[in-house]
Amino acid sequence: MTQHQIVLFVVLPMAAGIATTFLHRYRKAQRWVGAGFLIANIVFACKALATVVPNGDILVSQMGNWPAPFGITIAVDTLSALMLTMASIVCFSVFLYCVFQFDRDQQGGFFHPMFHLLILGVQWSFITGDFFNLFVAFEIMLMASYAIFCVGTSRKQMKQAYKYVLLNLVGSTMFVTLLGLIYGQLGTLNMADITRLAMSDQLPKSSIPVIAMMVLVFGGKTAIFPLWYWLPDTYHTLPSAIGGLFAGLLTKVGAYVMIRVFVMMFGTSQAITDVVAPILLVSAGITMFLGVLGAVSMHTVRRILSIHIISQVGYMLMGMGLAIATGIASDIKEMAVAGAIFFIMHNMVVKCCLFLCGGLMVEHAGDDNLEKIGGLLKRAPWLATLFMIAALSLAGLPPLSGFFGKWVLLSAGFQSQHYVVVFFAVLTSLFTLLSMLKIWSYGFWSPSMGKHVDKPERRPTTVGGMWGIAILVIVALSMGLGAQKYYTMCSMAAKSLIDPTNYVKAVLGEQNTPKLAINDMLPETSPKKLVIKSDSYETSGH
């Protein structure tokens, strides 16, 4: 994949969105076009990964050929490529599920265009190298999610939709205000340029509280401890597949951005890490523990799974917090970041898979209240098998993917002597197993109880949905059995995040790049001039 082709990650979903808008009366064509674009998306993501991984290259494209800090940059490094690959697979499986399991109403309106625009926003957030574009990508993603939220709504869902929309709007407004403040302080919004400023210790003192407040914005999107209140109330009202899509992508985009911002951009600035690290670590412990307690106390499949999202976010936060708290570049730091990345990838796949399983459970049993259903093991043995694999993977039993993610995070925690958060992580893991077993034993294992809701007369057709789940389970299994391969890629990504010299060099060019200063030996850097000499642009007529 050549440098300029990375723009396809934005162009393809957008083209799919346009095409499906044109075709909104022709349902069949809409589906085929969507499937074609999504498969192309997976192919390109894998190609990007194959290009980036061997040498840790960074693919950079400057929109409109404007030079770096002035134009819009998009860049794909190892982290972005990994995220893109996982996200595109998740999108395809959810798409399969939606196409085969949703009825006409649920797929009606502009569901398909919105689905593709959601993917556009997600992928754009993964590849953008510009802070303001991140905001725009977030907005596109959220706007599409609002619209999907309201497709085929019941009254209850509408009420929750207000909550979701309004809280996200307030978060977005805060984000854009902070961006204005950051631009006022630093004079640039290009991520590589800000990284350069942070690496050469040129961040003004007054910008530190502004940057630290970013935790609130991204934390709100990711649903970390004090800002999670919107999530358990809203996600469970969604149809399972949409819940899976949101759970697999939206909160993980938040986590990705937090890694990008606090580990890569500001991870080298002592003043900021001192503020952010304790917040993240404390919040990580509370988030994961309270989240899992909430999940254990719930009685419907979708509620359990949606509160579970929060608890899993805690692990990602733990990785980031450990990495930021460990000041200098070291093995522990790399391990913590790699663990967080591995965990995000694992969680995207497994969480989404569990939501899809929950959806099929509803199809089979007519309800997802665990006190009313039962005996699904006999009715749907394949579903039970796939659910079991995904659930055990989430709980972190070896040799499945969750185990390796947690293993890396826990050993990073032990080595950096943050025992409290490690203790909570282990405890959370135990409760996770408990909550998964609850779904298993009530939903699948127990005999059908007397008072269960009326079963559908004929067996529902679930082949399409099962394919979607099967793809995700295969990916999850490969992440468990081939953990070494995945972990190597994650630690490569981590390495380039901890020392972002290469990223800055790739985006800004050689001469502007400072060396990472260890031991306070700061290199001489001239303050950046925003004024380009006019003669260099005169010829282009501007």
Binding site: E139, L166, V176, G180, L181, L530, Y537, E538
Partner: protein
């Protein structure tokens, strides 16, 4: 001038906080719209100062004191467009809610929800 804009931002944010605590959805949405306007003004106030930054592209023979960095304005324009789309979306949601429930009162909507 900056003080004036700061006061306006403060007023807008305050008014929007007041409106968002309203019991009717109309008021809540108005509050959100106002919040957006406040944010746009805030960007203008904090980053558009002619004293500090210059536009990245200049040609020969212009007086640089007459130029302002255009980027914040581009940011604001983008934010306005996004805010515009969101306003349309929220208004549509309100219309649908009204058509279905004949009420926009949050309390009424809450009581009609079945207890879980």
């Amino acid at each position: 001038m900056n003080l004036l804009i700061a006061l306006m931002v403060g007023t807008l944010f305050g008014a929007s906080a007041f409106l968002m605590l309203d019991r009717e959805l109309k008021g809540v949405c108005m509050g959100v719209f106002m919040l957006g306007h406040g944010a746009n003004l805030a960007i203008l106030a904090v980053s558009g100062s002619p004293a500090g930054k210059l536009p990245p592209v200049l040609s020969h023979g212009v007086d640089i004191h007459t130029f302002v960095d255009p980027l914040p304005q581009a940011l604001i324009l983008t934010a306005i467009v996004i805010g515009f789309a969101i306003q349309a979306f929220l208004l549509t949601m309100i219309v649908i809610t009204w058509r279905r429930n004949q009420t926009l009162s949050l309390a009424m909507l809450a009581t009609e929800e079945d207890a879980h």
